[in-house]
Every structure is written in structure tokens, then in C-alpha cells.
Symmetry: C2
Subunit: 180 residues, 2 copies
């Protein structure tokens, strides 16, 4: 199974704290190997995500402060694909862009912007594909989740995490948590 | 096509503003008919979502201040299903819960919590199904998006909105917006 890592660009500490937390939680829950918070630091988010991973299992890494150019360059040098999620890109439903990404068999770095992104994100110097999970004004958290669900074809929702201390046992009614 | 409406419960003005906005944007972008912000009012969010709908098209309604019990009761009286999205519920990938919901052919009210929800949300007095988009701590915005993508089987991403003033023309590279 290819490895998927999320690059979160444009995070503004405080203002974007909860959204970036949700992006990171979605990344973990939907099968990504980790998230890079680029160009800035936010120790509070790092702590909260690492706490979730410690309690609910991993592996899932959270790195921060890496310049986006370095992260993208390093990824490409190692032969990985770069996908830029944007409402302006090729529609994941009406085009064959997802098929092409999967057919490559390559690891994928998914760039998830927050504010207006630099124009170069759209260019082939940065992204192999510009992918739109629908061409509507959207939530990057929602787009990322659907992208990962389609990329992993739902298998990510059956994944057993490692080193779990807490685990939900699915129920028709009510709540059940196993402590291990 | 069945009608899907989102009931957003537990919104705290200011604190949850951006997340609820993203939930509403995801609801609109992924095919819901509208969103009910229950038990509270937040005129700022209503304005921003209605502005998006005015510019990018609809139909998509935003109602607020309706007590959740009344909304749920009214929905059930009219023969609709109520789905409670929760990490504790039946896994949408490993169970047949989505199949059952679709097979009913009924309109669906999707309850999306924000903080800890009342225990009765899990009971058959409120919900017909408790659905988990993965049994991991999660983002309600991410869960809602994947739920809708699977419910509408991707067709929601091809929908043409009505009365659009702005429309994105998907591109392999760059941005293109049509003004109409």
C-alpha cells in the first residue's frame, strides 16, 4: 500500500488551531502515515495529536517547522508524487485523475492549503496533480477525508492501529470502549 | 434522489464558528439540501454561508435556533430517517449500515455533534442508525463529507448548482472561474 503524508501549508497559530487539528485527526483516522505542518510551529497541536496517537494508536507522525519547499523537494527526490488539493483542480469524480494517481503506485504527499496558496503550488515544479474534491468552495478537512477514503478505497476504515490503549467497539446503540 | 439535511448540534458561537462553517460548506458541496443549526443562533455563520450560496449557487438552506427535539420529531413525523454520526456507531465500511440507509429510500436527517452529545442521541427515540465513519477519534466535518460522498455515490460532485454567479472550470494547472 503506498504511503500518504499530508503537508499542511499556511497554518496560522491560534486562528487555525482547531481546523488544523481536525485536518490532522482526519489524516490519522483515514490512513495517512503522518502530517507535516510546514513553515511554522504549533506545539499545542502537536501535543494534542500525539496524545491521541498515544492513546488510540498509530503509527502516525506529526512534524512541524519544515519549509514546504524542502519537504516537497525531498519527497520528489525520493520518487514520490505530490498532489495539491484545490477546488480549482481536476474533479476527482468526473476526471481520471484518481485513477492516474493510484496507477502510479507511488507514495503521495498531499498538500492541503489553509489560506490562499502561492501560485506555484499549481505548477509542475511543485505538484504532479491538482485535485478537486468537487469544484465548490469547500473545507480542506472534508476534501482531505474524501480524497483519502477514495485513495484507500475504504480499507483505511478497517485498519487496526498499533499500540492502542483505547479502542472503540462499534455498537448499534450506545458507546463501548475497550481499554488495553 | 433522497433529500439529506444536516442537523448541527452543540454549536458554541465563536469557539466553534470556523468548524461549523466548514461543516456547512461541506454539507452544501457534498449534496445536502440544507443545514439546521439547532438550539442556538449565529448570524455571522448564517450570513457567510448564505453569501456562498448566493455567489456559487444552490439551493441550500441555513436555518438556526430550532430546538433539536422539534427538528427530529418533525422529520420523523414526515417519514424521514435520522442518522447520528458518531465514532461509536456501526462502521460504515465493515457493516451493512449504509446499505440499509440507502435501501430505505427515505430522506435522511444527519445529526452532527460538536461537543459531547446527550446519551439519548444514541437511542431509537432519536436515531434510526448510529453510523461511524471509522471508529477513531475524528473530525465531524471529515465524517460528514465521507458519509455524503458514500451516500450519494460520488454523484454529488458532478451536481450543477442553480443560480450561480461564480463557477470554477476545472483545470489541470492554474485557476479558472467563470462569471455568469
Amino acid at each position: 500500500m503506498p504511503r500518504v503524508v499530508i503537508l499542511r501549508w499556511g497554518h496560522r497559530p491560534q486562528r487555525d488551531a482547531r481546523l488544523t487539528s481536525h485536518v490532522a485527526l482526519a489524516a490519522r483516522a483515514f490512513g495517512a502515515a503522518g502530517l507535516i505542518l510546514s513553515d511554522t510551529n504549533d506545539a499545542k497541536i502537536k501535543d494534542s495529536i500525539e496524545k491521541v496517537t498515544k492513546e488510540w494508536g498509530g503509527p502516525f507522525f506529526f512534524k512541524m517547522g519544515i519549509p514546504w519547499k524542502r519537504a516537497v523537494h525531498g519527497w520528489r527526490v525520493r520518487g514520490g508524487l505530490v498532489v495539491h488539493l484545490t477546488a480549482y483542480g481536476e474533479n476527482v469524480e468526473t476526471s481520471d485523475v484518481m485513477g492516474k494517481i493510484k496507477a502510479s503506485g507511488k507514495d503521495v504527499l498531499v498538500i492541503v492549503g489553509c489560506q490562499k496558496v502561492p501560485g506555484e503550488f499549481f505548477s509542475d515544479a511543485v505538484s504532479d496533480f491538482n485535485v478537486a474534491v468537487g469544484n465548490q468552495p469547500h473545507s480542506e478537512c472534508a476534501s482531505l477525508a474524501v480524497f483519502l477514503d477514495r485513495f484507500f478505497e475504504g480499507k483505511e476504515l478497517t485498519r487496526r492501529f498499533e499500540n492502542t490503549h483505547l479502542e472503540i467497539i462499534p455498537q448499534v446503540r450506545g458507546k463501548k470502549i475497550a481499554n488495553g
